[in-house]
């Protein structure tokens, strides 16, 4: 594994998906590309692992999905953030920030 790629902490994939989708409706592959862009390709996951996470978020009601047509004229499923998904993203982001700063402080002490 190249040194700049980090293992994914549990739960962080969900947060990254919510963040990626909050910027606009996307299909599965689009979400992966978007996560790659916003994280500077710092994440190393098997691409298929994205989907169980997507379904989990969809059944929890944070994501809404509908079938549409993608750029290359193929049928694809597009995901967007629901109202409760937006709220979830806010709460999770705040929680993550608290956690990250606490960890940073602890490691510097």
């Amino acid at each position: 594994m190249p040194p700049h790629e980090a293992e994914l902490l549990p739960g962080t994939l969900d947060l990254l998906i919510l963040k990626a989708v909050s910027l606009g409706q996307l299909h599965g592959y689009g979400i992966l590309v978007r996560i790659g862009q916003i994280s500077g390709d710092a994440l190393n996951i098997e691409q298929g692992a994205l989907y169980p996470a997507l379904y989990r978020l969809e059944t929890k009601g944070f994501l809404a999905a509908e079938w549409g047509v993608s750029d290359n004229n193929r049928r694809a499923k597009f995901y967007s953030l629901t109202a409760s998904g937006k709220k979830r993203l806010r709460v999770e982001t705040a929680g993550w920030n608290r956690f990250a700063s606490a960890m940073a402080e602890a490691l510097e002490a």
Binding site: G28, Q47, Y51, P52, A53, Y55, R56, T82
Partner: protein, 548 residues
Amino acid sequence: MFNHNKQRREMADEFAHHIEMRAEELMRSGISPAEAQRRARAEFGSVANYQDQGRQARGQQLLDELWADLRYAVRTYKSSPGFAATAIGVLAIAIGANTALFSFFNEFMLKPLPILGAEKNFELRSMYLVRGSQERHTRRGWTRPEAAIIRAGTAGRFDDIYEWAENEEPMSAPVALTARVVYVSDNFLQVLGAPILMGRVADDATPTAVLGYESWQNTFYGDPAILGKRIRIRDREFVVTGVTGESFRGLNPWPSDLYIPLRFLQGADSEKLIRIGGHAPSAPPLDHLKQPLDALGKLEYLEIAAQPKTTHISMSFQTRMLAAPVFGAFFLVLIIACANLANLRLARSASRSREIAIRLSLGAPRWRVIRQLLTESVLLSVAAAALDLAFATWAIPAIHEFLFAIMSKVKMFVPPPALDWRVFGYTALLSLATGVMFGLAPALQSTRPDAVKVQRRRGTLVIVQTAASAVLLLLAAVFVADARRMSRADPGFTVDHVIALTDQTHPALETAIRNDPRFATVLRMTRIPLFGVEQLPAKIGDRAVALR
């Protein structure tokens, strides 16, 4: 969960789209199409594995939500225990009545007979005309000459064929009582798989008897030295050669006292009909028996058939026609209870409209809120059903004991209906259906964006409830009126001056009556006219004096 296949297809489509997009991107960076495809697949990982995880992500989610809904429902009812208790009580009565009915239905019409080879058991029946009349009769019994013809004509057509005849006979020694005797062909007990507790099966030639377990226990107090003892039936002695195991009841729901070889069956051919059963993989054709049976003279046979006898009461057209209205009436009781509770919930939904409106505005899908409300109503009906089953395990033996204690004179013992997986499954399904039935309308109603039509919906429910109650009342009235009319029906002869003595009567008593001048007429018949109209307990010497 119902669109399992659709879900699987959609996942496959979605994954395929992903891999193709990735491959196209790789191709744009100058990789050959074949290599791009390969690499895209490798990067994606195992499709099957992720499909599995995807399904789990959904399934697990449903379970989690169900659990959350259940906890929420319990909390809601804790805050209004009065409503919960009333609802559970009403539902327990309605579901309990239906379950009780079903358990009888199960016992006699669904459960296989407790004999060996119940699934391939048949009984021979006939449809015939009495010569010179156009009236059709059906019958399950055969006279001795008929049985002989059938025995010869069915050789090799059944795996096993057996004969029996049941009769209540006067036993005079060692104790005097009426015994339920089954006269059996020599293979009867073996073919039906009767367990033999001790001794051996009676052999055909000598007057021997095998005791039923209950008879051995109750009449002979479980005498361990019973084998070889003598029993007197009518005026013949039988030697006890064996005792059947406790579980064996033959083809009846109740146990029999004695099994005696068929050749000791007394009485004229036409009176003592022999029944014939057999085991076969499928019903063998028996039309070839018509001609030799017709040749016997009196009857003209239209049909001779082996009918499946796998349960106590077979599911014929007639039994279904009889059972349907009974089930219908019990079901109406359930409908009334449901309409009642739906109405109650609609009235309560006003107090919960705020909570529901908040959940909906927070982005909960309507279906999700409906599911939560349905969980609440199903929780009530399942609690009611659980209460019923708990009550039944205690009440069935108690009621049964009480019934047979007050009916001890009938000396008939029918084992209590058992709660088995069929009853359990029926109750579970019924309670789920009930929960949905009374919960769906209020759930749909209270999650509507405009909750204005509540009044109208409640009106409809009241109408349903009133209509169902009216039908039930009418049924009850008809039933009572019929029973009254039956009790006053004119049997066509003077009932007051008739004494009926059944076959159990000791032969010496019959002779005494024939010689008694106080009796105007003495008749012998196989069946009392209008059997069951009214039977009075009578003793020679008191009421009989007032005869004539």
